[in-house]
């Protein structure tokens, strides 16, 4: 059983295989191979496919299951392209084309004196975006990533993290021990660093807030908002959207302020969360085909 675990959808074999493929597949044949494997994963990874299909039902109310199956395939294709681009950057320093939307907000983020929290969604290549930001900006950035569920995959990713491509200005932390990390991040923000956290994905053990996303009751991470409130820094929503083959769009939203205004801390955090949802929903609705949320957003019934 232990040996076969590596071949499960989140198993380490596929990460190793992807790395091998990036080093071996000639670029011109890559599209054909990529869409083939994405199709295979769509067929075989039932839980991931069903979760994407259910999320699509929330994003596009009234949509048909059959159409959502093909939408799920499109999500898997985009995911395959994105993770391939990530590995290619890590192994071969190949970078994609970039387009900036909301450049005035992006410039405000770059020029903002003091720390700030960047909230991203699990779409496009946020890894690549953080790398690019670290390469082109003098600011130090700490990127918080959800840990891999599979221990072997987690070990592999930790090992890959240490490879030469990570710039000095970028630190990647895995969200494994929430309490310790919270203090580290608070320290980082207070010392003027940028902290990038995913705001649409809950991993076990992290604090959450109730929210409504696309009319579906769900829970979203409280961390980014609590951090911004404690450090008294703004939150910049930032989305890295895949625009085509080796082409990405960096969308920067308007800054969100989370202030303590009342005795009810959760209500104050909730206001920040609502402002975040108001920005993330249109981006996901427009680019649903790359919302890599492989768990259903709906809260499981109590």
């Amino acid at each position: 059983m232990r040996w076969s675990r590596r071949f499960l959808a989140r198993g380490v074999f596929w990460r190793q295989f992807l790395r091998w493929a990036v080093l071996n597949v000639p670029i011109w044949i890559e599209p054909a191979i990529l869409v083939f494997w994405a199709f295979l994963f769509t067929l075989l990874w039932k839980s991931g496919r069903n979760a994407v299909m259910r999320n699509m039902k929330a994003v596009k109310p009234g949509s048909w299951a059959l159409i959502n199956f093909f939408r799920a395939y499109r999500v898997f294709c985009n995911f395959a392209w994105t993770i391939a681009d990530n590995v290619r950057f890590r192994e071969m320093r190949m970078i994609p084309d970039w387009e900036f939307v909301g450049i005035e907000n992006f410039e405000a983020l770059k020029e903002h004196a003091g720390g700030a929290v960047i909230v991203t969604a699990h779409m496009g290549s946020y890894d690549l975006g953080a790398h690019l930001f670290a390469e082109t900006s003098p600011r130090r950035i700490v990127m918080v990533r959800a840990p891999e569920i599979d221990p072997q995959t987690r070990a592999f990713e930790e090992q890959q993290k240490g490879r030469g491509a990570t710039p000095e200005a970028l630190r990647i932390d895995f969200n494994t021990k929430a309490a310790d990390l919270a203090f580290e991040l608070l320290d980082a923000v207070r010392s003027g660093e940028l902290v990038a956290i995913q705001g649409d994905r809950v991993t076990p053990g992290i604090a959450t807030l109730p929210a409504t996303l696309f009319g579906t009751k769900t829970r979203l991470p409280a961390g980014p908002f609590a951090l911004a409130m404690a450090a008294r820094v703004p939150i910049f929503p930032l989305f890295v959207v895949r625009n085509g083959r080796r082409r990405y769009r960096l969308v920067t939203g308007s800054p969100i302020t989370v202030e303590r205004r009342s005795r009810d801390r959760d209500a104050d955090l909730g206001r920040g969360l609502e402002a975040w949802i108001a920005q993330v929903e249109p981006v996901i609705a427009e680019s649903w085909y790359q919302w890599f949320h492989f768990e259903p957003i709906a809260e499981p019934p109590a």
Binding site: L23, N24, I27, P31, F36, E91, I103, R246
Partner: protein, 177 residues
């Protein structure tokens, strides 16, 4: 990190250096030569020979369809439809045979960059298969002709581009500046 990039210029998509094959480089050169400056603030284009989407998608689709059609000769009637999934799998086999099995046997690391070797192997196999189908009858004969025609055009483009290389470099330098 050294990045070869062009900022804020949409016409730089047609830089010949963003294309791999001579035929596409020549086409890109002709388009860029006649292109008007298109300022697009916030655009960053990378100069890398594998960056062209048009070139890569066209080559990929063309090669895959050709392999599917070649595979269909071994099938009859409605079974010819099976050539679609079979061809899709067969086109990957050289990669696994050479990249995962043969190269390690010859002492080449699995972690090495084998793009060039695999690409040469692929095109050699395609040339051998096309040489075979040129001698047969049916639609595959014409596909094989198309394959050799593209190969010839690419070689011709390389010959044309060689004396133009300075002009190409000047045009690119002007666009990047």
């Amino acid at each position: 990190m050294m990045m070869n990039i062009v900022r804020d210029r949409a016409e730089a998509r047609w830089l010949p250096s963003r294309h791999r094959y001579a035929l596409m480089r020549l086409i890109a050169f002709l388009i860029l030569r006649n292109a008007r400056p298109k300022p697009q603030p916030g655009l960053i284009l990378v100069i890398d020979r594998d960056q062209s989407t048009l070139e890569n998608l066209t080559t990929s689709i063309w090669a895959t369809l050709t392999v599917m059609c070649y595979m269909s000769t071994a099938m009859h009637g409605w079974w010819k439809l099976a050539a679609i999934p079979v061809g899709w799998i067969v086109i990957q086999l050289p990669l696994y045979i050479l990249g995962a099995a043969m190269m390690p046997l010859f002492g080449r690391s699995l972690e090495a960059n084998n793009h060039r070797l695999n690409s040469v192997f692929y095109w050699s196999l395609m040339t051998i298969a096309s040489a075979y189908f040129v001698t047969r009858s049916g639609i595959n004969r014409w596909l094989a002709y198309v394959f050799f025609a593209v190969l010839t055009l690419n070689a011709l483009a390389a010959v044309i581009l060689f004396p133009l290389r300075r002009k190409v470099a000047e045009l690119e330098a002007r666009c990047v500046a």
